[in-house]
Symmetry: C2
Subunit: 199 residues, 2 copies
């Protein structure tokens, strides 16, 4: 049965899903890219972006699981772009260029209506203004037998969690502190040890 | 130079430092003991409690570091016992029996004065009613050249963090969720992967 999944959602040790001060230069906020180092070095990530090489193993496996059997996505509006409030025009078409890495319908939660945008490679952005349940209904229908992946950000995931709608979450905790200093990060099968020292 | 350290402070994946409903049967709250499985299985922990055997390796190393070079402790009052409000009498002498595992002076933060208690093995409990700075001053003096270890709990650590007084923190994130279900926990050098599913 189709599930609502969060996959490869990455948090810093101090619990942030992105850095501060998102803008055009920093789609994930300042320092936010460092969160995703576990993923951006993998073979699957390289292949998704037309490259070659990259690591294999656990991190690659989780990256691959995240894009397997996904029939639709749901994104909060800030994941689609840095514009807040009403759309000034229709120029903004997402962070990802003409061929975004989704390749399926993507439902963007927003308070401001806008016609769908058909991109190259199978991605269509739909703008949903009537709430999280409506977005999930439309995404589930679009996904067919496949799963719906909830991309984030944090506020969007919280809304779906509060409503009890998420079936599975994969969270990756990165050895990154956004605003302090992590001097040691030693995972064992029993615990993840983290030593924080004054910057 | 003497430091104020937090060592081996264990959090669940969802950020709890203890379970709910602390009482005489559950000094760490319900489910709280599971947080510390990484430590209670080690050789150092066994030796601290007069036992033998136990694991060696990273978890044991962090356990040993936690008790090395500690000249005094600071504890929040709830770590000393389950009694809230004024002391009804002087019967309560801590969770640990006649010979507590500290073996140095321990400064307990409380709003309710009480004479010091000298235990076996070098532990003396001092009750500090004039705040976190006063407790740190007394503990630092008692520790001499050694460090002061801040044992917790969460509220006490937050107070010292807010005041900018902590020099180093070692946090161990355990693959435990207090109130949900963690179906996978796979640490790599790059991230700690956690999969949460509906209970």
């Amino acid at each position: 049965m189709s599930k609502l999944r969060v996959s490869a959602f990455t948090l810093s040790i101090d619990g942030y899903g992105a850095g501060p001060d998102q803008d055009l230069e920093n789609p994930l906020g300042v320092g936010g890219m460092g969160l995703h180092a576990w993923m951006t070095g993998t073979r699957t990530f390289a292949a998704m972006h037309g490259g070659e090489g990259g690591t294999t193993g656990v991190d690659d496996d989780f990256t691959a699981r995240g894009i397997t059997n996904v029939g639709a996505w749901i994104l909060g509006r800030n994941m689609f772009g840095p514009i807040r409030g009403p759309w000034p025009d229709e120029a903004w078409r997402g962070w990802w260029g003409p061929n975004p890495p989704y390749h399926v319908p993507v439902f963007v939660l927003t308070h401001h209506a806008r016609p769908p945008i058909t991109m190259d490679g199978g991605t269509t952005f739909h703008f949903v203004t009537d709430g999280i349940h409506a977005a999930l209904g439309r995404a589930t229908e679009a996904a067919g037998a496949k799963d719906v992946r909830l991309g984030g950000g944090v506020a969007t995931i919280r809304q779906y969690l509060s409503a009890g709608l998420i079936d599975e979450m994969h969270i990756a905790v990165s050895p990154v502190i956004l605003g302090s200093r992590c001097s040691e990060h030693v995972p064992t099968s029993q615990a993840t040890h983290v030593v924080l020292t004054r910057a």
